[in-house]
Amino acid sequence: MTFSWKRVNAILQKDFKDFSRNSAVSIIIFLPIILAAIYGRMGIDSLQVHFMTINMAFAMVGTYVQCCLIAEEKEKNTLRGLMLSPASTLEILGGKSLLTFVLTIVVVFFSAYLSEYRPASMGIVAFAIILSTLFYIGMGTLLGLVAKSVMESSVIVLPVIGVFTMGSFITAWTEKYPILKVAEFLPNIQLFELAEAVEQGAGFVQVFSELGIIGIWIVVIFALTVVVYRKRMVD
């Protein structure tokens, strides 16, 4: 497989220009930051609330924005143009994900800063956040490839935003509904458990299983994305 940074950078630059002129989608990135600022000013200092805003940043920017960008490429047939160019699958998907990756990290950083979340170990939480960002972008890419239009993409992404933003609250019902124990393996729950462990002084070794589960989600979501992308290459 070929890989050229020049081609990835060309797609990134094009996405940046296109995104900055698309106010309908670009305005979304401010929502998690505004919510975090409100919580911060209200003086709420609960790990669950901090991660609600962080998960919202993941879902709204990493997944929703990415989903809309990919679905628009499909709807306007521009993805077909990229597929017929010499750019490889890795270059196209990499280039298409880089802008959302940077935006997600920036929005998560500002959300955490404004809600005054100061983790006990910045290194571990930052690493877990970078891993989680990859998962949410993979999810956005997959949904964007599955959706037939931008309109459809904003509908199919809603349950994802619901589950991954509010997912932490699902675990409260696991005693009444044991089937919901499955939700404990969701990447957002794993990230929250990791953050809780870090606050209690856990190091990299103690949170390895949480990082591993998030890693498995990333592998699964990207494998699915590549399969669907390759199918989309052929009408």
Partner: protein, 282 residues
């Protein structure tokens, strides 16, 4: 001469619908080959198979001697350019920005953008956003993108369908110039005049099957009836057979100074298509 395209027994079925069936043809390097037929005859399906966007149900297709399945390899895609009716341009970006993206994807110097924009006569509009362009201008930008890297093989799906006559002629000149430089052109159209003007050979496609394939001139001679039309000074039009009796009548008319114009009765490609397929070119 080596073949740029070779197609053997090609078929594509969508459920029970046979889009193309038993299609055989070859396109020589340096040729302008016209694939003619009405809407729904299978022209776009064939282009999609030849550019690796569709897998054939049966048969084989080769581009530059390689099976089209190899076109999934990004390097192989550098050798051809495609213009389809789906624009595939970024509406919020300018013409220049759209072409810059492709310049960088093909690893070309940015000077190629001006060449391509000049080719399609859009130099003054290069800073306009694509979303604000007319359909004809958009079509020209898509063409500029397809020829940006001076491909060895150019697939054009109805390239002038949205253009006015002046720009159509400008594009024809450009395509001939590209062809002179060595680009093989595979052109699909339902405009028989366009095919007659540009193509070295044409294939008539109807209901997914090739009905006729040859040089436009040969086809016109083959299907011409043996008459000429003579317009006389009294506005009368007389059909004369091209035989001894016709020659004698012509001699007499000329001797009497009654002949204004003389036309051979060659059919157009459109006439031949209708005669061969029994269908209309819509």
């Amino acid at each position: 001469m080596e073949n740029a395209i070779e197609v053997k027994g090609l078929a594509k079925y969508f459920a029970n619908f046979k889009a193309i069936e038993g299609v055989d043809f070859e396109v020589k390097k340096g040729e302008i080959f016209g694939f003619l037929g009405p809407s729904g005859s299978g022209k776009t399906t064939t282009i999609k198979i030849l550019t690796g966007q569709l897998d054939p149900t049966e048969g084989e297709a080769f581009v530059f001697g390689e099976n089209v399945s190899h076109l999934k390899n990004p390097k192989a895609r550098k050798r051809f350019g495609v213009l389809t009716d789906n624009s595939g341009l970024y509406g919020r970006l300018t013409i220049y920005e759209n072409l810059k993206l492709y310049c960088e994807l093909y690893d070309l110097p940015l000077s190629k953008i001006d060449e391509a924009i000049g080719f399609v006569n859009l130099k003054e509009e290069s800073k306009k956003k694509v979303a604000t362009l007319s359909k004809g201008m958009t079509q020209r930008v898509v063409l500029a993108r397809a020829i940006l890297h001076e491909p060895e093989l150019l697939f054009l799906d109805e390239p002038t369908s949205a253009l006015d006559p002046v720009n159509t002629l400008h594009i024809y000149e450009g395509l001939r110039a590209l062809n002179k430089k060595g680009t093989t052109i595979f052109l699909t159209t339902h405009d028989m005049q366009e095919a007659d003007t540009l193509c070295n050979r044409v294939a008539f496609l109807n209901k997914g099957k090739i009905r006729l394939l040859d040089q436009p001139n040969k086809l016109k001679k083959q299907y011409a009836d043996a008459t000429i039309t003579v317009e006389l000074t009294n506005d009368e039009k007389r059909q004369l057979r091209r035989d001894a009796a016709g020659a004698e009548e012509m001699y007499q008319l000329m001797k009497d100074n009654r002949v204004v114009t003389v036309h051979s009765n060659e059919p157009t490609l459109g006439d031949i298509f209708v005669k061969v397929t029994g269908g209309e070119l819509v």
